[in-house]
Every structure is written in structure tokens, then in C-alpha cells.
């Protein structure tokens, strides 16, 4: 069970006009793995995530989730299979109270099938969930419109929204960007805990130090191609990775 392949990506390619955003990327992800997805700006990390979650359709290649092909499934079906994603830019329903933001995933067919939720119960479920992410239930924070909350809260709201879907694969797109150090150090153990409890996680991140604390495998992308795949230290020690990150070294 622990070694079951949860996600398989085969020769995935996406072209936008003349630009190849993702170029022949293949990898397998096992249940319970914590995969870091890194690479310089514009290397195709977000596009790869958009491809996996169905927001962008690939030019060629296939994606399998638990041996089921999901290449051409619409985003909501993929989400209902248990693949939750966060967004790089903060996206929330700004005019809606923070806890009501979670009603949307809680109302999805997936969660309704898993846990029911009768009249009024979803509010409690949402408030319980937000409490775990630092929205204290007795403060006014969860009841304020999401648009009035600071950036760090919105990022955690996004994470809570993903967890409300009861995911089996969690994809985080630069969760820590724009968070303060204390917010990061408060959120990181949560994500670690989810992973220990068996959740498979893919995390795109520019803060490598934090990422390497939790990730046990790293894939490095550069210009849409996969240039390294393995445990963080091994992957980072490769020549090509260092060139991609630091530029070409002058010999000397």
C-alpha cells in the first residue's frame, strides 16, 4: 500500500504557441512521498501543476492517477478524485467571510459523499478546520470577509480550502511566498504532520531551505525539462542544477 504509485506522468508536453512550457516530463509519485518541485522562474513548475490538475490541457503526454487516466478530465473531476491544489497568487472569495470560503469544497460531491454534512453542519466543519490553521474560533478572524485579512492568513485559508477537500494528493504552488518567517514556521509543521499521516504532497517552492526540511525527493525543472530527480542533496549537487540556479560558472 505504501509503495502504491499514486500519480504517473508520461512524456507530458505543453506548448504555448512557439514556447515549450513543459517538455517531455515523466515521473512517478508513490503514496506518502513529499516531492519538492523546483526550478528557476519560468521553468514550467506552475504549468506542470496546471496540467496535472486539469486547468490546462497538455499538447501531448498522459497523466494517470491511481492507474486511471485523468489527462482529459475537467478540473472539478480531478479535484473530486482527491487532488487538491493551492494557487500561487492569492485567490479567495474576498467578499465572503473566511469560514464561508470553505463551504465550496465542503459542498463538493466528494466531501458530501465522504462525510455527509447536513443543514448548518458545514459551518461548524469549516470553523473547526480553520481553527487548525490559526484562525482562532473565538476571535473575529474567521468571520471577517476574506478580503480584509492579511496576506499570510489568505495563504493559510488557501491551504485550509485544499484540506477541506480531504485530499489524497496535495499540490501546493508557492505556499510560502509572501509569508513572514513566523507564519512559515507555524505552517511548516502542519504540512509535515499531514505528510506523516499519509498525505502525498507536491510542493513548488522557492524557499529551498524550508522545502528541504520536509521534502524527501526533489524534481528540478529548467526550461520545461526535468534536469534532476532524487533526494534533495543529490539533486542539488548535480552540475546542471547548479548551472540552472547560479548561471554558467567561469572556469578558474
Amino acid at each position: 500500500m505504501a509503495d502504491e504509485v499514486i500519480l504517473k506522468v508520461e512524456n507530458l508536453t505543453k506548448r504555448f504557441g512557439g514556447i515549450i512550457a513543459v517538455d517531455q516530463v515523466s515521473f512517478e509519485l508513490k503514496q506518502g512521498e513529499f516531492l519538492g518541485l523546483i526550478g528557476p522562474n519560468g521553468s514550467g513548475k506552475t504549468t506542470l501543476i496546471n496540467l496535472i490538475t486539469g486547468f490546462v490541457k497538455p499538447t501531448s503526454g498522459r497523466i494517470y492517477y491511481r492507474n486511471m487516466e485523468i489527462t482529459h478530465c475537467p478540473p472539478y473531476q480531478i479535484a473530486c478524485l482527491g487532488i487538491a491544489r493551492s494557487f500561487q497568487m492569492v485567490r479567495a472569495f474576498h467578499k465572503i467571510p473566511a469560514y464561508k470560503n470553505l463551504i465550496v469544497p465542503l459542498y463538493s460531491p466528494r466531501v458530501r459523499k465522504l462525510s455527509g454534512g447536513k443543514y448548518g453542519e458545514r459551518d461548524d466543519m469549516a470553523i473547526d478546520l480553520l481553527d487548525d490553521f490559526g484562525f482562532e474560533r473565538d476571535s473575529f478572524v474567521p468571520y471577517k470577509p476574506a478580503g480584509s485579512l492579511p496576506h499570510g492568513y489568505l495563504k493559510r485559508l488557501d491551504l485550509a480550502r485544499c484540506m477541506a477537500l480531504r485530499p489524497e494528493l496535495l499540490i501546493l504552488d508557492e505556499l510560502f511566498s509572501g509569508m513572514t518567517m513566523s507564519e512559515v514556521s507555524a505552517t511548516l509543521p502542519l504540512i509535515e504532520k499531514f505528510n506523516r499521516e499519509g498525505l502525498t504532497i507536491i510542493m513548488v517552492e522557492h524557499r529551498l531551505k524550508e522545502l528541504f526540511r520536509v521534502a524527501n525527493r526533489v524534481i528540478v525543472l529548467n526550461f520545461g525539462r526535468k534536469i534532476a530527480d532524487g533526494p534533495p542533496r543529490e539533486a542539488m549537487s548535480q552540475k546542471e542544477v547548479q548551472r540552472a540556479y547560479l548561471g554558467t560558472e567561469t572556469e578558474g
Binding site: A79, F93, V104, P109
Partner: protein
């Protein structure tokens, strides 16, 4: 030069709301009255005004206002899921012609044709609009604007459904009172029903779609299915209004697809304030009687009408209802800085 500002206006919420807008903590009859008053006032106004005004010309205006209020409510419901429609005339016209057609050709009584027009008409409208659900913003508006024109010209050139003459001498309501009270009660039901709906979990999904549809998709919800459902409900209300009007005037013609049936409810929504349904009803109940009162002015009517609309929008861009709501729920005082 302006003088140094010494005072500023402070707005304080009246302390009744407890956390959410659905749970209240009441501790006195005064607070109960405070909560009930804004709900009882419109209901009693709507129920009593036909009695005080009676039949005759202004009785007709009440009926007329109600049908436009229904169209405005239908517009506001679509807007709450992010669909900006310019096609209330489509719903109105389809409902009118379904009711009129079955009454004229098959002699079905109006108690069959009105429900049939409501459900059947809504189905027709939904099927027409489903292919363009993926369009957003102004593109969706364009399609909804064009569809009534299409029907209008089909009826004119093919001379079907009475052609340019329309269908005449349809069966009337048994009495004026019945027609008015069916209209009034349905406005009340739609108004409070829609307000309730948008505070339910279902409604939060709809609001989510308006704010950010990609997040809703990532939340495992098929937004097109929800949009189609919303169109169906909105079309039901619009078609119902059309069917009522058809039987009230005992006539249906191409004017059912006229642009007026789109613009007037929309103007009502803009005047009253969108997003909470109450504004739509308030706006139409101001605009429709106003435009009737100005009828005596002849040609100047439309000019004056437009002028009033512009002044109202310039002074209260949020809409009358939002303004009233704010004044009711907050008190203001001047505090020195």
C-alpha cells in the same frame, strides 16, 4: 483654502449582529422589532397596496411593477453567479409565447398554460443558453441580447405564432385581484426565497463562482452545472412574469421580446442596488410607477425619466437600498480628531 478638518464622521454598527448574518442574539422586544421591521414593511406594503390603490389604471401599474420586479429579481440572481445578462426579454418573451400559444391554439386554460410556460419556457431558455455558458462577461451579455432579437425576427418573417399581429383574445384572469395577488405573492416569495438561497451553502457556491470560478473548480465543483441551474431558476421567474402579462393583457405580440423588457428591470436594479434582491424590487417599484406618472408629459417623458435615472445614479451609485440598509444598521456621529 479648506479649513483644517476638526471632525470626522464615525460609523458604528448597531450591536445586534452576532458573528454571521444568519444568527441573531435578541434580548428584548425592541431588538426583535429592529430585526422584523425591514422584513414586515415590504411584505405589508406589497400585500396592502393593491387594496388601497384598487383597480383601475394604478391597479394595473401595481401589476406592471410586479412583473418587472420579477424580471429584475431574475437579473439579480444571474448576476449573483457572475452572469451579466441583457436578455430578460428572452425569458419574458419565451414565457409569453409559450403561455399565449398553448392558450390560443389548444385552448388550454391559464392555470395550465402559466405553469407550463414557467417550466417549459425555462427549459427552452436554458437549452438556448447552455452552449454559451463558457463565455464570460460581455460575450455572454451579447448572446443574451441577440437571442430575443432572433425570436422577434423569426416571428416577423416566418409569420408564425400570429406574426406581426400577435395572438389576440386569450383567456383573461377571473378577476383583476387574482392577477395582482398572484404577482404580488410571487414577488414576495422570490424576494425572500432568493435572499435565503444566497445565504445557504448552495448560495455560497454561487457567490464563489462569481468571485473566482477557478477556485470553485479546484474545490471540486462543476461550475457549468451550477450556472445552468441558476439560469433555469432565473428563466423560470422571467417566463412566469411573461406568462402572467400575456394573460393579463389577453394578448401576446412581438413586443414581448422588446428591449424595454430588458432595460427597464435592469435600470430598476441599478437604481435600487444589485446583489441583495431587495434593491431590485425597490428600484422597479420606484421606476415603473414613475415612468407611468410621467406618461402625461408625452415626448418629454423619456428625457425626464433618463434625467432622474442619471441624477439618482450620480448621487447614490451604490443604489438606494444599500444606502437605506447602511443608515438602518449603523448610526453616525461626529467625533473630533
Amino acid at each position: 483654502m479648506a479649513e483644517a478638518i476638526k471632525y470626522r464622521k464615525e460609523r458604528i454598527d448597531r450591536g445586534i449582529k452576532a458573528r454571521s448574518d444568519t444568527i441573531y442574539m435578541l434580548s428584548s422586544y425592541r431588538e426583535l422589532l429592529y430585526i422584523l421591521f425591514p422584513r414586515v414593511l415590504p411584505i405589508s406594503f406589497l400585500l396592502l397596496s393593491p387594496i388601497f390603490i384598487g383597480g383601475g389604471y394604478w391597479g394595473k401599474v401595481i401589476f406592471y411593477s410586479c412583473t418587472f420586479a420579477l424580471l429584475a429579481l431574475s437579473w439579480d440572481l444571474l448576476a449573483s453567479v457572475g452572469l451579466i445578462s441583457l436578455g430578460q426579454a428572452l425569458f419574458f418573451g419565451v414565457g409569453s409565447y409559450v403561455a399565449g400559444g398553448f392558450n390560443f391554439y389548444f385552448k388550454w386554460p391559464l392555470f395550465l398554460t402559466i405553469p407550463l410556460a414557467t417550466f417549459g419556457g425555462a427549459l427552452i431558455c436554458t437549452f438556448l443558453l447552455v452552449p454559451v455558458l463558457r463565455l464570460r462577461g460581455v460575450y455572454f451579455s451579447m448572446v443574451t441580447l441577440i437571442l430575443p432579437l432572433l425570436f422577434d425576427h423569426l416571428i416577423e418573417t416566418l409569420e408564425i405564432l400570429g406574426g406581426t399581429h400577435g395572438l389576440l383574445s386569450l383567456s383573461p384572469f377571473p378577476s383583476h385581484w387574482m392577477a395582482v395577488y398572484i404577482a404580488v405573492v410571487s414577488v414576495i416569495l422570490c424576494l425572500f426565497g432568493f435572499r435565503r438561497l444566497l445565504h445557504e451553502d448552495y448560495g455560497f457556491v454561487l457567490r464563489g463562482i462569481r468571485e473566482d470560478d477557478r477556485v470553485v473548480m479546484a474545490g471540486g465543483i462543476n461550475i457549468y452545472w451550477y450556472k445552468a441551474q441558476t439560469i433555469f431558476i432565473a428563466a423560470m421567474v422571467g417566463c412566469f412574469a411573461g406568462a402572467l402579462m400575456t394573460h393579463y393583457y389577453q394578448f401576446v405580440g412581438r413586443s414581448a421580446f422588446a428591449l424595454d423588457n430588458t432595460i427597464l428591470p435592469l435600470a430598476g436594479v441599478v437604481l435600487g442596488g444589485s446583489g441583495n434582491f431587495a434593491g431590485s424590487v425597490l428600484g422597479t417599484f420606484i421606476l415603473v410607477p414613475l415612468s407611468e406618472a410621467l406618461r402625461a408629459l408625452g415626448g418629454l417623458r423619456m428625457a425626464l425619466y433618463s434625467l432622474i435615472l442619471i441624477i439618482a445614479l450620480a448621487t447614490l451609485p451604490e443604489g438606494i437600498f444599500h444606502y437605506l440598509e447602511r443608515k438602518y444598521h449603523q448610526f453616525e456621529r461626529m467625533v473630533s480628531i
